[in-house]
């Protein structure tokens, strides 16, 4: 697996801009960029009524499960999945090797519009991720101040 790029403020702002544009044009409620391993990278829109961390984990699992099904039916991939609900629906589309775009929208909103505007959004998101990828692949975070002598400080059991 290729490494994910380092994203800085500028990247997150541009990715956020793409998500905001998608929300405005498609009338979707919430849009997320997630990692295929299940991590939430960034989101826009209404985050209060949804548990986005858990949605990221489950949506990536559902998407990846569908890719396995695609292989079983001799398809290279199912590039997107659509879950239709009575109140809200969800559309997930592949961005690149590592990332996915998730759009959550009210059930009365046209999935066609979400798909139509998600297509070019995904391409622009992929371009920004590529820019980030080429910027500084070797950057690191200094964790040296962490006291590893006492791991019990990380997770404590209630007494």
């Amino acid at each position: 697996m290729a490494a994910l790029p380092q994203l800085i403020e500028e990247d997150i702002e541009r990715l956020g801009g793409e998500l905001r544009e998608l929300l405005e044009k498609s009338d979707a409620t919430t849009a997320l960029i997630i990692d295929k391993g299940g991590f939430l990278i960034t989101s826009q829109g209404d985050a209060r009524q949804f548990d986005l961390t858990t949605i990221a984990a489950l949506a990536s699992g559902a998407y990846m499960a569908n890719q396995t099904i695609a292989n079983l039916v001799h398809e290279t991939s199912f590039n997107s999945i659509y879950q239709q609900g009575e109140k809200f629906s969800m559309f997930v589309m592949g961005v690149d090797e590592n990332c996915l775009l998730v759009a959550i929208f009210k059930a009365q909103v046209s999935v066609g519009a979400v798909k139509y505007f998600a297509g070019p959004a995904v391409k622009r998101i992929a371009v920004q991720l590529q820019i980030a990828q080429e910027r500084d692949p070797g950057a690191r975070l200094d964790l040296s101040e962490l006291n590893l002598a006492d791991p019990s400080e990380v997770f404590k059991r209630k007494t």
């Binding site: 994910l4 403020e9 990692d35 960034t42 858990t54 990846m64 590893l148 400080e153 997770f155």
Partner: protein
Amino acid sequence: MAIINQATKELQVKVVYYGPAMGGKTTNLVQVHDHVQTAAGNKGKLVSLATSSDRTLFFDFLPIEAMSIKGFKTKFQLYTVPGQVIYNTTRQLVLRGVDGIVFVADSQYEKMAENVESFANLEDNLKMLKLNLADIPYVLQYNKRDLPNIAPVEYMEFLLNNRDLQVPSFSSAAHKCEGVFEALNMITRMLLNKFISQGTPQYA
């Protein structure tokens, strides 16, 4: 691989509990969820995708925010895999992006073959993802030590930890929360050590 988001100052780490069916993987997550001390709002919901008979179908998922390192929030995402043999494709999916593994072995004598088979399956599935177990921090948890028909720890060490570089192992009775936090804290320590010694993983 772990994600560090420089813009939002977050470190996200994925730990997977792996092992044979009915070994206690889900119980580990339930105990962590029930007993972990966290600041308000730092513990997410425990999500279980289970069958009607409470067997894990896809995975269990528990997000926890643990601590701040140099201003970075550390978010741990704990997953289990379904232990049953038929769900191997699902196990491969859950292993994608794994940073650390807790292998939960069943200490009962009659489960030794399943333990060994599951461990070999773990190595095979990592290879499918172009990963090598030797490169991934992992610990062994010998669960159900409170049952009467258990194999000696030394025997389990011989079966599962008989390598050039032995990994930490823990005796546990997960349903009593014994050995649960010890294993979780050790894998956390190993993960953070790896990040420091080898530089950080992937960035986002």
